[in-house]
Amino acid sequence: MSWRGILVYAENYSGSIHRASFELLGKARGLLPKIGGVLHAAIVTSEENAEKHSKELIAFGADEVLEYIVKERFLPNPVVHRNALIDAISYAKPKLVLVPATPWGRSIAPRVAAAIRTGITADCLDVYVDDAGDIVQVRPAFTGNIIAHIKTLTSPVMATVRPGVFPLPQPDYSRKGEAIAKNLSLSEDDDVRVVGVSKRKTVKLSEATIIVSIGKGVRSKEDIKLFEELAKALNAQLACSRPLVDMGWMERDRQVGFSGNIVRPRLYIALGISGAPQHIAGMKDSQYIIAVNTDPSAPIAKYCDLFVVGDIYDIAKKLLQALEGFKEVK
């Protein structure tokens, strides 16, 4: 059996495709000349959205879209996506399978890898083809302390890839491609029933371009207002280190770090955060990092571009005053 081309799993459990799927299509197009074959996208979608979704995936780079059309209520069911992806792999026989390393992707993809007994690499930051023509996957391990380059000896090579590391390609709606409707036999068993959405996230730090992040330098829950104001003035998202979530001062969706969100904004401002390895793991790839801390020997000094030695309350107040004369860029 020969394995050719690339398959991108397009994440869709809510009715809209996760943007990381498009990033992966862009990356895959770049890899394709070295790997050969065609670029497939596989999607579980509904009757209503199938055509629109396939057009989108083709515009972002897919040659052939494998559509698994299910009733709306089956969309958020992981079993359906597992079965679809296994079917898509056996149909397309791709050399490489890319899945967004979202919580959802990191739940579906490993199941599929185990089912088809192939190797899988988690949360990759890059994928490239080396001089020997082998696919190499680049991933962080040990809470982001180590970067490892990994090869897979079995086929297909499977990887979950971190959202936001590859640029969103420019869609081209004149691109030609094919949509292939694929059947999925849905068993009527009730092993997994999705009862409903309990809460949609209002903050998505992974997509923020400017982040103001607060740590234990903040002395009380009420004081957070000041930093909220600062975030607003800079058109930024407010985030935090883990202790603030543990104390119940901030919601978990705003936590940055190993056990929170991995972010890579254009600007990350860390206020009263010491820079523990678990926090650094979540923000070190930000383009520009400013730290404000009274302690110039805080570990975060090694991971920032500008270190303001000072009190976060004092700096926040003065900065807010000074900003009144400026317009933020929308």
Binding site: Y13, S14, H18, P76, P103, W104, R106, S107, P110, R111, V112, A113, A114, T118, G119, I120, D123, F142, T143, N145, I146, A148, H149, I150, K151, T152, L153, D191, V192, R193, V194, V195, G196, V197, S198, R200, K201, I210, L234, N235, V245, S259, R266, L267, P277, Q278, Y288, I289, P296, A301, K302, D305, L306, F307, V308, V309, G310, F326, K327, V329
Partner: protein
Amino acid sequence: MPRWGALNIVVLIKPAPDITKAKFDIERGTVDRSSTTLEINPFDLYAIEVAKRIKRLFGGTITSLSMAPPHAEPALRDAIARGVDRAILLSDKRFAGADTLATSYTLAAAIRKLGSFDIILCGEKSVDGDTAHVGPEVAEHLKIPHISFVIRVVDITRDRIIVEADYGDAYYTVDLKLPALIALSRPVIFKEEFVEPSMPKISDVLRAKRAKIEVWNADYLSDVADVGRFGLAGSPTRVVKAYYALEKGRMARFVKGDESIITLLNTLKELGVIQ
């Protein structure tokens, strides 16, 4: 058909190095094992806590499985002190060098060897492996349903468990048939109660010191598994190169006093945040 009696609860516990103290063996892309002791992977502490609450409701036993080198034994004693009834260490040279596929295969084999199980609990991810892939792969080998990134156990009966899980863009409520595997995030809520691991009592630590740790090797699993799928031999992925991610760091410019606000404003302008 409803099932009766106590529940057999399995917890997957990874003995992992404290990454703030660990030194790394860059050649092999692993932790220098001699540089640090192994302790329970922090996320797995939540799995133990949830296991205890399930046991309180239904009765039963909590069995922990850990695939690790022999010097992981203190971590297993810690698990017993925290409330695990039976701790099993899967340890054998033939398990070494396992990636997620071989690790999950070995853990699944050990679960089969246990005989019957109703629920498997594990952590969202490990601080060293850092993949979040092992739990789902174990579930697949056992052909049972699973849900990852669980932040709440809404309800549990002898036949089903209802959980809230983080899908990424939203939290979904999912109702699974037991036996199933649940991978726990933190913070986690059990019914209405916030679950927070606490230090074990001295009396429990002393009791755990005398407890028996069962050690299973590859041969012991040979009737339920293909020993060729263990360890490096059963691992399709290979680390070809590894290096420190944080070594480079950044060269920060330090400012203080009156200079601070002016520098901040200029930087914000240069970055195009304000105009």
